[in-house]
């Protein structure tokens, strides 16, 4: 990732890119897993889930403030040496690839249920992959611009679900805190999967024009994401009731039934078509970052070849999940480890950075 290659991002573009990376396919199935554990209080669990990205931003803020021009990858090599640093970076890259596999896998099963049952998963993957590689070749600035556009679409779609307020009932979310605090916290761990991906911040922050606004933008992004997630879970419970939400694999789609527009029999299909774009943009951002890290580790390979080099992985791996249930099972088992790794990686580097900064300030004084 060379600065001469890409133009620098504005603060707003960083904000929308972070939102775009995090909100993807997970939001549609989020109410299912959360409500299964926390019943009518699922929306509280979702709001609590924002602690994970908040922690990453606050502790990672040390790195951002100390090395505003270096990515976390450089800092990792700086502290741990080339071998161990690159090893950690490789794991860091692997998780983004895993996210891409997750997004494409869920897009596959969702699109084949709701939109294109006549297509095979490999065809859907191929089409998505070609679009992703094309967008990646255009660089970070273009991806940021896509994310800005998509942000408004996400907001429009989630807010349009407010029409369900007319049909649901406040009785569905009462009694508040009725399911018990332990269940609420257990469910909030479930929601760490959709909140994952804030790590992308540590790879792209050197490419922002105004470095001082990075942390503030990340915090604002977290607030907006938390609001959108909480609203989604809230409106789904409000509309369907806690007993019905876990019955659907993608409960948020049922809420789209409440959106009644004259002359349109079924808004669900329009909703689905637009959501495909949102999935595409999330996968693009994740793929871009993972190939950027790959490029950072293996500097000799040209960037454009990296996109093609990694593509077989994300073409084949999503196909290995035989069905949606298997995919969810796999990711609910794997995600806690990924989350733990991220916490470990960012915290470790932050601690080392803090120690080093102290030493430097001692010497200079």
């Amino acid at each position: 990732m060379n600065k001469s290659e890409t133009e620098l991002l504005t603060t707003n573009e960083l904000l929308f890119t972070l939102i775009g990376c995090i909100i993807g396919a997970g939001i549609l199935s989020l109410p299912n897993s959360v409500v299964a554990n926390a019943q009518q209080d699922g929306w509280i669990s979702t709001a609590i889930g924002c602690l994970y990205p908040l922690y990453l931003i606050l502790i990672g803020g040390i790195i951002i403030r100390t090395y505003p021009d270096k990515t976390v990858l450089d800092v990792s090599i700086l502290h741990f040496g080339k071998l161990f640093g690159n090893f950690l970076n490789f794991l860091f890259m692997a998780q983004f690839l895993l996210y891409v596999v997750n997004v494409i896998g869920s897009a596959n099963s969702m699109l084949r249920v709701y939109a294109v049952p006549f297509m095979t998963p490999s065809k859907i993957s191929l089409v998505l992959l070609m679009l992703i590689i094309y967008a990646c070749c255009k660089g970070l600035k273009t991806i940021a611009k896509i994310n800005v556009l998509m942000f408004f679409i996400i907001v429009a779609l989630t807010l349009s679900s407010a029409m369900a307020l007319k049909y649901g009932s406040i009785l569905n979310i009462q009694p508040i805190f009725g399911s018990g605090l332990s269940k609420i916290f257990k469910a909030s761990i479930e929601s760490s999967l959709p909140y994952g991906n804030m790590e992308i911040l540590f790879v792209i922050y050197p490419f922002v024009k105004n470095k001082k606004t990075v942390i503030r933008a990340a915090l604002v992004a977290t607030c907006i994401i938390t609001f959108i997630y909480t609203w989604t879970v809230f409106i789904t419970i409000f509309y369907l009731g806690p007993d019905i939400v876990p019955k659907s694999l993608w409960p948020f789609f049922i809420v789209s039934d409440a959106i009644q527009i004259p002359a349109i029999t079924n808004f669900r299909f329009i909703f689905m078509a637009i959501w495909t774009l949102i999935i595409f943009k999330t996968a693009t951002s994740e793929y871009f970052v993972s190939s950027a890290i790959f490029n950072h580790i293996f500097k000799k390979i040209d960037r454009k070849y990296v996109y093609f080099l990694l593509s077989p992985l994300i073409l084949v791996l999503p196909l290995l999940f035989t069905n949606e249930v298997a995919r969810r099972d796999f990711f609910t088992k794997v995600m806690p480890w990924v989350t733990l790794f991220n916490l470990f990686y960012i915290t470790l580097i932050s601690i080392f950075t803090a120690i080093k900064r102290k030493k430097v300030s001692k010497i200079s004084s």
Binding site: M119, L171, P175, Y239, L240, G241, D257, T265, N266
Partner: protein
């Protein structure tokens, strides 16, 4: 030169993509599809006496250019999905779902439990969840066979009937498939669906059906239906009449708003306070002659109307608690929201044993253009 190659590359790529995506999929013109306007589900017995589902589609045909017609395609099977096989043997088209207007369920299906029917609808991603769910007397197919003049199918007519039943008798519009999803398996809620039958060679709504979980328990007649709806629904409209002899009556047309409050009394018994506010216009009046002149007559009328309605409602609640033993007013839902969910309480039982206080408030809003029966002397 390079640019030329690039354009060529893109064109070739597009063609290759098209061929790739096109292969293996078939496209059929709309005239060659069975598009059902309504679906009827019944239970029939086969020759050996086993129960079978009979699913009938009422599909449009487009062979006549001036007028669309309909054709019934029947299929029987052990499960609802199985019936697709037999239906295809009779049909000359492919069948798609997603544009149906009504689902007609036979009385046998409702009594047997509609969970299987709901499940197959819920799993199908192309299902149009806003179609109406209606219970039919005897066999649903018989109602589907009725020809309504100027309508392509009887389902189109029934759709209009249910669309507009909310205008009177305090019917709501909560009879869609989605409404069944959110009621059948939810805690403290019970499904109510309209009941239609053929009477005097016409299709008519003759009441509603009460469900306990997914099973039909009781069919209410129109008079009971009216007061059940009055107590159950919020923001629905209808007519209330006070009568003293044939020529002396007063009618009001208006909307009722409902508020429920739940608490426990000293005996640990659930108490439900139902506050009903009925606000409307006087549409016909020959009972109170001075109503336009004296405000206290209005007040007098409001009170006696409220009292009369309360009596009627109490009579229904008495029947509901002692005879039907179903919580068809969805009071359990309010109790669950106040005292916690998932405690394993059977709300039908609790509500049948609890105390229900009704308070009706009648408010006269408008008097129309005036009153003809007022005496000028």
């Amino acid at each position: 030169m390079l640019k030329k190659n690039r354009i060529l590359f893109i064109i070739v790529l597009c063609i290759l993509m098209y061929i790739l995506l096109q292969s293996g999929t078939k496209f059929v013109p709309i005239e060659k599809l069975d598009i059902p306007s309504g679906i009827a589900i019944d239970i029939v017995k086969d020759k050996k006496g086993n129960k079978n589902y009979l699913v009938t589609l009422d599909a449009y045909t487009f062979n006549n250019k001036d007028k669309s017609n309909d054709i019934l395609i029947e299929g029987a099977g052990i499960t609802i999905a199985d019936t697709r096989e037999q239906r295809q043997l009779e049909s000359n088209h492919k069948f798609i779902i997603g544009l149906e207007k009504v689902m007609l369920l036979g009385e046998d299906v409702a009594k047997n439990g509609i969970e299987n029917a709901l499940d197959i609808l819920f799993e199908n991603p192309f299902m149009h969840d806003l179609a109406w769910l209606v219970i039919c007397k005897d066999k649903a197919v018989d109602i589907m066979r009725v020809k309504v003049s100027d309508y392509p199918t009887s389902s189109d007519y029934i759709k209009g009937m249910i669309d507009n039943c909310k205008e009177q008798s305090f019917f709501s519009d909560n009879y869609k498939i989605t409404d069944a999803y959110v009621r059948v398996d939810a805690e403290g809620r019970n499904l109510v669906l309209p009941y239609i039958e053929i009477k005097d060679d016409k299709i008519q709504i003759t009441g509603v059906v009460l469900f306990k979980k997914d099973t039909m328990v009781k069919k209410l007649d129109l008079d009971e239906t009216k007061y059940m709806n009055f107590l159950r629904e919020n923001d629905v409209s209808g007519i209330l009449t006070l009568q003293e002899g044939f020529d002396k009556q007063i009618s009001m047309s208006g909307k009722v708003k409902r508020k429920v409050h739940c608490y426990k009394n000293d005996d640990n018994q659930y108490v439900f306070d139902l506050d009903l506010e009925y606000k409307g216009d006087i549409v016909s009046n020959s009972l109170y002659e001075d109503i336009l002149k004296k405000p206290d007559v209005i007040h007098n009328f409001e009170e006696s109307m409220a009292k009369y309605t309360e009596e009627k409602c109490e009579a229904f609640i008495d029947k509901m608690q002692n005879e039907y033993e179903i919580d068809c007013l969805e009071l359990g839902r309010v109790a669950a929201a106040t005292y916690g969910r998932g405690t394993g309480v059977d709300w039908n039982e609790v509500v049948s044993k609890s105390k229900i206080n009704i308070k009706v408030k009648v408010i006269v809003d408008k008097f129309g253009r005036g009153q003809y029966t007022v005496k000028s002397k």
